[in-house]
């Protein structure tokens, strides 16, 4: 038995080291370790060995097995390096010049399609897009929005901060924006009032990823600033959006809710269109589901951005499109949006 083993090792060592391609090595691997391969067959014979012999043979067997595997791996790398070298000999060729590209069926990401739908909807009302940076100063993400430092409401939005060590800046000065709301102070400080703007873009939070949460997500937000902007306008815009994206039956309901940057602040529920308000799993039996946060822009936001809080009123309205898409399309895991599974993306 021992001799047989050593013979296999010797034979295959030669084969392995003289192999010329990855395919050769794959074949050798199968010939050795595959079902009915040399090594595999040999191990079947162990049953018939006396106990003390089995012990020594077992050890030797494992040793030889490992050595062969190691050699195959080593030679894989050797051959790969040869292949990498041979890339030098490959040509940069673009011929034929008019190469017929394969015809595939392309798809837009679900979020892009939804964005287009909502942007078009609000463009009809005269809203214009305005995107703010993803890496943002504390000032625009928090301070200007009536969320001062050391304020407990900062705990509502766990934040990812940028390492500004090299800049010798105060830690915590720059961050990944936690909401799209950073667009309003950026726009308001330009003084270009009245404002009717919107943004559909990416935000970040310090949050572990699971089926319902993600540290990276989209928000859609509108802000209107002018004279005589009212809560009745907010109600109108809420119903306008809900009916357009969830169907005519949908309608909004306001509930008191606290957001530091608005006063009054409301949470917006939609009548559950899945059970017609009767109560189902999606709305936890209540007939309504929460869809957005909104309110009348807090006077401190005007003061912080150089506008006169006595002259202006304004409304703002924001929601998470990812969650609506999940509801509308029965998508059970938020990770589908950012993990690039073509089987998922090609459905839309």
């Amino acid at each position: 038995m021992e001799e047989k083993l050593k013979k296999i090792q010797k034979d295959y060592q030669n084969k392995i080291s003289s192999s010329k391609s990855l395919k050769d090595l794959d074949e050798i691997f199968i010939a050795l370790f595959g079902k009915n391969g040399q090594v595999d067959l040999l191990s079947h014979q162990f049953k018939s060995l006396p106990k003390d012999e089995l012990k020594t043979i077992g050890l030797l067997f494992n040793q030889i097995k490992q050595e062969l595997e190691k050699e195959i791996n080593y030679n894989r790398l050797r051959i790969k390096e040869l292949i990498y070298k041979s890339l030098e000999k490959e040509n940069f060729t673009m011929t034929p010049s008019r190469w017929e590209a394969k015809k595939r069926k392309g798809h837009l990401h679900l979020a892009t399609q939804f964005k287009k739908e909502i942007i078009d909807l609000f463009e009809k009302l005269g809203f214009q897009q305005f995107d703010a940076p993803h890496i943002e100063f504390d000032k625009y993400n928090f301070e200007d929005l009536n969320i001062p430092k050391d304020h407990p409401s900062r705990d509502m939005q766990d934040t990812l901060y940028i390492d500004v060590g090299n800049l010798k800046l105060e830690p915590g000065l720059m961050l990944l924006r936690t909401h799209t709301s950073n667009f309003w102070p950026r726009l308001m400080e330009k003084g270009k009032t009245p404002i009717k703007a919107m943004s559909f873009d990416r935000c970040f939070r310090y949050e572990a990823v699971d089926a319902r949460h993600s540290h990276t997500f989209n928000q859609f937000e509108i802000a209107v600033v002018g004279e005589n902007i009212t809560m009745a306008n907010l109600k109108y815009l809420s119903d306008y959006l809900l009916k357009a994206i969830l169907g005519k039956e949908a309608k909004s309901r306001f509930r008191p809710k606290y957001y530091p940057f608005v006063e009054p602040g409301v949470g917006i529920d939609s009548l559950c269109v899945f059970c017609h308000g009767k109560g189902c799993k999606i709305c936890s039996g209540t007939g309504w589901f929460e869809i957005a946060g909104a309110g009348m822009i807090h006077p401190n936001v005007y003061t912080a951005t150089g506008l006169d809080p006595k002259k202006y009123t304004g409304l703002a309205w924001g929601f998470g499109p990812d969650r609506i898409l999940m509801l509308k399309h029965g998508i059970e895991d938020i990770r589908y949006f950012l993990e690039g599974d073509l089987k998922f993306l090609e459905q839309y």
Binding site: E90, N91, H109, Q128, A232, P256
Partner: protein, 547 residues
């Protein structure tokens, strides 16, 4: 905050089922997380610190249901003339008020059943009768109290001061806590007794043998309490209340009620000290009918305005009918109401948000914002789709797999100071590596022909300064030995779609990561070595462009 419903009924005579009450509260006051027959749990927001108490919730319930309260909010504390317990406040920034009452002749024992039920319904455990008094009072009034075993407090002196550097204390949970000079402590002449607003000390807690206690009621600097609580990772029922802010009137009411409960247990008040500034300065806000109407967009009868605010405990002095204005005095328990808009919110929720009818925006001429770029991006996406590519969106970070692949100079990447994990430590500098990862995943799922693109932001660290810009990246794996040919064709087709606009700005590609020959300015075949590292055996070509 869990609210015991049987206890709430002792304080306000509302006539609703738990489910009706939950509905009413969530539409007019505050969200309700869950309810049972025994309790309802409020989804507490930062502003409504007053609802961290049964009395606060009772006031709210009385206002929104029109029922009456079983207690009065007026203040009467009239202590007999007694010796003063020694109290020192190092600095009024740390604590505005520090009261200590000495109560003798107590006997530690089990609490009565109804106390235990009240505590349990509110989510707390019964400890013993002496400790339970402080917790019951905290739940009812929202004012945390603490009882020290008087024998363990040197000279029965309580001092409010900053912790000394390297000072330590073993807290009630048995853990040794290292303090810093940013923490407030209650201390005697020798040692810290209590991490102020967060947790009491083990050595001074009430024991079986305790007969004399020092009952402490404090108001600490909420920001400092919050920082200490965060640093120690210790959030308690008490620390939440200290952070939300306390009021002097309420503190005295709570102290008086606690002393009464101890007296009922056979205790005797023998010394007391109400140290600090006990003066209450009620806030006054001018409210006008005009502002109410202009913010809400509806007309609310001034009589209703008055009635809603009165129900909530505000007092109004009319500034004259013609002016349609009031001077409104805010009740002491509503720390969150400071401006006119806050009052308008109170009016709106009492009136009922459901009665506000939608009204379309008046046509106003707004300043034009340049929309060219947004339109360009969308058009580009459609063109990419039309040439047969599928849009993916990937995270704005480099995964650890991608990082090891690129072997890139981390100094040039934008780094997150507090990553959730190593997968969110660096922001992506290019998009194509993320697309490569997607190609790998889909090859493993059985795809053999993959053409994908992403338009999104990439982040660069320019001498320490983070910069972001929009990029287009495409990855093509078509099964051929030279996918660059087809990708080049796609790029040409695309420039026809877009009349060549803007597609000539190359994002510089790191040469070593690409095929030694098949590289163009912003178009290249990825080096097989790089692909192999991701488990990809097929050839992949990529493109990346600054937009």
């Amino acid at each position: 905050m869990k609210v015991s419903l049987s206890w709430l009924k002792e304080l306000v005579n509302y006539k609703l089922t738990p489910s009706q009450l939950a509905d009413k509260l969530s539409l007019a006051s505050i969200g309700v997380k869950e309810f049972t027959d025994d309790y309802l749990e409020l989804d507490l927001t930062y502003n409504r610190g007053d609802l961290l108490s049964l009395r606060g919730v009772a006031r709210e319930v009385a206002a929104i249901t029109g029922s009456s309260l079983a207690f009065s909010s007026s203040n009467s504390y009239d202590y007999p003339s007694l010796p003063k317990t020694p109290v020192e406040i190092e600095n009024s920034e740390l604590s505005a008020v520090q009261c200590v009452a000495k109560i003798e002749g107590l006997k530690v024992g089990a609490s009565p059943k109804d106390w235990i039920k009240k505590l349990a319904d509110c989510g707390m455990r019964s400890v013993n009768n002496i400790a339970d008094v402080t917790n019951l009072i905290m739940l009812e009034y929202g004012q945390p109290l603490h009882s020290f075993d008087a024998l363990t407090v040197k000279d029965e002196t309580i001092k409010v001061r900053l912790a000394k550097p390297r000072e330590e204390i073993t807290t009630l949970d048995g853990k040794l806590r290292k303090l810093t000079s940013d923490d407030i402590v209650l201390a005697d002449r020798e040692k810290p007794l209590d991490v102020a607003g967060v947790m009491g000390g083990k050595d001074t807690e009430v024991k079986q043998s305790t007969s004399t206690i020092l009952l402490s009621a404090s108001m600490f600097n909420p920001v400092m309490v919050r920082k200490t609580s965060n640093r120690l990772g210790l959030s308690s029922e008490a620390s939440r209340r200290f952070q939300h802010g306390l009021t002097k009137t309420n503190l005295l009411q709570a102290l008086t009620a606690a002393i009464k409960m101890y007296e009922d247990l056979g205790g005797k008040l023998t010394a007391i000290n109400l140290a600090g500034d006990l003066e209450n300065n009620p806030k006054k806000i001018i409210l006008t009918q005009k502002k109410i109407n202009s913010l809400l967009g509806i007309n609310i009868d001034p009589e209703l305005v008055e009635s809603y605010l009165k129900k909530l405990g505000f007092t109004l002095a009319s500034q004259g009918l013609a002016l349609r204005a009031w001077e409104v005095t805010v009740p002491y328990w509503r720390l969150d109401v400071t401006i006119e808009e806050d009052l308008i919110e109170e009016i709106a929720r009492m009136y009922g948000y459901d009665k506000i009818e939608g009204e379309s925006l008046k046509d106003v001429q707004v300043e034009k914002l340049d929309q060219t770029f947004y339109n360009f991006i969308y058009d580009l996406k459609v063109s990419l789709k039309d040439v047969g590519l599928t849009e993916v969106q990937t995270y704005s970070f480099y995964s650890t797999d991608v990082l090891s692949l690129l072997d890139s100079d981390k100094q040039k990447l934008v780094k997150v100071a507090n990553p959730i994990s190593s997968e969110t430590e660096y922001l992506r500098q290019s998009i194509w590596p993320n697309l490569l990862e997607v190609v790998g995943k889909n090859l493993r799922r059985g795809y053999s022909d993959i053409g994908i693109f992403e338009i999104g932001k990439a982040f660069n660290n320019i001498n320490g300064e983070p910069k972001e810009e929009y990029r287009l990246a495409v990855a093509l794996c078509n099964g051929s030995a030279n996918p660059l040919q087809e990708l080049n064709q796609i790029a040409l087709d695309l420039s026809l779609h877009l009349e060549g606009a803007k597609l000539n700005k190359g994002a510089k590609l790191n040469k070593a990561l690409f095929h030694p020959k098949r590289q163009m300015e912003n178009l290249a075949e990825v080096h097989l070595r790089v692909l192999n590292k991701l488990g990809i055996e097929k050839r992949v070509a990529v493109l990346e462009i600054n937009l």
